[in-house]
């Protein structure tokens, strides 16, 4: 009995040797996402997308494998840093991904940079992290706050809206998004007639802000809110009957696919801008949405798409590296592919993604909100603002 088995093993060994010299490498990826706390929903969307991405593109890995280590960041920079250090030192991960909160990202930046372990950012949009605080080891596949708002200033002006009132929550993202809007709206000739920055948390009632905004008689209002604040804001804008006099333009997070169904009729007529909307008409997006909806029973949001693209980026880099872990790090910065949101490419000058940004129309009909692409601004690239790669 032992002899035939022995020759069988020898035969298998020979065939393997013939088919490829590559050593099958294991790539260990640390997933750092909020699974509890205020951003828990986003963590879930990104992880679902990430897992789907690994599943869809696993054939591209060849003999290599990807394993995941996951941990909860909440929205806490301190404990997230400890967890990232554990992943780097103890689990010896080859790269990390996730990161919803920009504060968590800012806390991890120096550690990741010193340890030379790449961090693929799947959400946190703070401009500075691909600007003056950029690092060769921080690669952003999601968006920057400037990128997904900057084109809107000129676009809104071109719609004949010369006087605009701005509103966003009082934290870094809110201010960066409004500044980006202004940076193209004012040079085009537009006038900002007023601005309000309500506190990030604890505002249940935007009524007072809306009444004050209306009193300045703008041609349009441009806002950014996300999550529960976005739902409250949209409902209240609708209920106060302002929309028929003053149209609402917004960062697309206001009407995110993650919760636009909760806004319902109130979202009707809002024009928004974002790097993803579930109805982009490409084969990649169709495949993503069909699989995502079948698995989770809900539409894949921009957060799910970001997780999906983070997985795709890792797979592409592994493929390009041929299993060499140093080459993998460089390959992450040179990747380009067509994701659900369209063509995307990492900009080696900033490590931020270059991608299309979409102007989205929200319409309420037959009891549902329909989101359609009104206009596409192609290949939006961030300026190199103070980023020096070392």
């Amino acid at each position: 009995m032992s002899k035939p088995i022995g020759s069988l093993v020898a035969a298998v060994a020979m065939t393997t040797a013939l088919t490829g010299p590559a050593v099958a490498e294991e790539f260990k990826i640390g997933v750092l996402l909020p699974f509890s706390g205020v951003y828990a929903a986003l963590g879930e969307h990104i992880e679902n997308g990430f897992k789907l991405g690994l599943e869809h593109f696993k054939d591209d890995l060849g003999d290599h494998t990807v394993t995941m280590v996951r941990d909860d960041t909440e929205a806490n920079p301190g404990s997230s840093l400890a967890k990232a250090k554990k992943m780097i030192l103890q689990d010896k991960v080859d790269a990390m991904t996730g990161i919803v909160s920009s504060a968590v990202l800012a806390g991890l930046r120096d550690t990741v940079d010193a340890a030379k372990v790449p961090l693929i950012v799947a959400n946190a949009g703070n401009n500075m992290m691909t600007g003056e605080r950029c690092s060769p080891y921080v690669v952003r596949v999601s968006f920057s706050n400037g990128q997904v708002n900057r084109p809107m200033g000129k676009w809104v002006y071109d719609q004949g809206k010369k006087k605009v009132y701005l509103m966003a929550p009082d934290y870094a993202a809110g201010h960066q998004m409004m500044e980006a809007f202004k940076s193209t709206f004012e040079p085009a000739g537009g006038e900002i007639v007023g601005e309000a920055y309500p506190p990030l948390r604890g505002v249940d009632d935007y009524g007072p802000y809306l009444t004050a905004a209306k009193a300045t008689n703008p041609d349009a209002i441009y806002v950014f809110f996300a999550g529960g604040a976005a739902i409250k804001f949209v409902k209240q804008y609708h209920e106060f009957g302002i929309k028929k006099d003053i149209p609402l333009y917004a960062s697309g997070f206001l009407t995110s696919a993650a919760y636009v169904h909760v806004e319902g009729e109130a979202a009707d007529g809002i024009t928004s801008i974002l790097h993803y909307t579930p109805n982009i008409d490409t084969p990649e997006n169709k495949r993503f949405q069909e699989a995502y909806q079948a698995a989770h029973g809900k539409v894949g949001s921009e957060f799910s798409a970001q997780g999906y693209d983070a997985a795709r980026l890792i797979v592409e880099a592994i493929k390009a590296s041929g299993g060499d872990k140093e080459a993998f790090k460089t390959a992450l910065r040179n990747a380009s592919f067509n994701g659900p949101r369209g063509p995307m490419k990492i900009d080696p000058a900033t490590n931020n993604v270059i991608q299309n940004v979409y102007i989205i129309k929200n319409e309420f009909k037959d009891g549902k909100v329909h989101q359609s692409v009104l206009d596409t601004i192609e290949n939006v690239q961030d300026p190199v603002s103070g980023c020096q790669m070392n």
Binding site: S36, G37, D204, D205, P208, T211, K232, F240, A258
Partner: protein, 290 residues
């Protein structure tokens, strides 16, 4: 802006709406506080459960009206279970232990809600009673908010009659005023406390259910509302209905006009008011026990 009459009318209605929501939450908390010095920090979580259960009822039956009745009852039952399992034995454990246990309860209830309802934003959009916009003195105003105001005022009226005109009311007032003597007079203070606790739970559930159509629900919504509710209780004075309504109106008005007129200070204005009241009247505006 300031000379526009419409601006003031809308803001007054806004502050009334916020005040009424705060009133529904704080009245239960203040009476529980006052009656047996019990600190229930998990009161905000009952508000969250009211919204969540209201969501489930409204989506399952298609009737938002039904959720206004079903959610308070369900939250009252949850309150009864919590009372029997936990709160009853914490009654004599001292305020520090009560704070720790009910603070922990916030997280337990939040995670249970996360497990059952998930982490996404939940909301109801169809069949909302009084939905739409109506004209008040030439200003457009969401009619559902007028409904919230009405619910708050009706609740106040019912509670007023209950506390001032019924035997149960006098037992509650006696219990708050001097529990030991009341119990010597043959009043079952324990049973009274249980009843009041359940009523407080039901009102928190009602607040959650009626807030749902106007806002949206997440498992952590109970944490955000807790702080203003506690401020209302402290400003109004422990244990009094009058304190709860006056405190709610004061905080609701301050928050609303504060955000409209001096938006840069919106985050601290409530605390400034709290500090002012604590300096001038440390026992609150209408304390039951002076």
């Amino acid at each position: 802006m300031l000379t526009d009459g419409g601006f003031w009318i809308v803001q007054i209605l806004n502050s009334l709406q916020l005040s009424m929501l705060l009133f529904l939450l704080s009245v239960g908390l203040t009476v529980i506080f006052g009656l047996l010095n019990f600190v229930n920090l998990a009161h905000g979580s009952l508000y969250m459960l009211g919204a969540m259960i209201g969501y489930s009822i409204a989506t399952a039956t298609g009737s938002v009206w039904l959720s206004f009745f079903g959610a308070p009852v369900a939250v009252m039952i949850i309150g009864a279970v919590l009372y029997k399992l936990l709160i009853e034995r914490m009654r004599t454990a001292g305020p520090m232990n009560q704070v720790l246990v009910t603070f922990g309860l916030i997280f337990v209830l939040m995670d249970i809600a996360r497990y059952i309802w998930g982490t996404d934003q939940l909301g109801v959009t169809g069949n909302i009673p009084f939905y739409g916009t109506i004209e008040v003195f030439g200003q457009f105003y969401p009619s559902y908010r007028l409904f919230i105001i009405a619910v708050g005022l009706i609740t106040y009226a019912v509670l007023y009659v209950l506390l001032e005109r019924t035997r149960l009311g006098s037992e509650v007032r006696a219990g708050v005023d001097d529990g030991e003597t009341a119990s010597c007079m043959g009043i079952n203070v324990e049973a009274t406390f249980f009843g009041v606790f359940l009523l407080g739970c039901a009102l928190a559930g009602l607040a959650g259910a009626i807030a749902l159509p106007a806002f949206s629900a997440t498992p952590d919504m109970g944490v955000g509302i807790l702080v203003p509710t506690l401020v209302v209780v402290v400003v109004g004075g422990l244990g009094s209905l009058k304190g709860a309504i006056v405190g709610s109106l004061l905080i609701g008005t301050t928050l609303t006009f504060g955000t409209a007129l001096i938006p840069n200070f919106a985050g601290i204005i409530m605390y400034a008011l709290l500090v002012a009241v604590l300096l001038l009247k440390p026992e609150g505006l209408y304390p039951v026990r002076a």
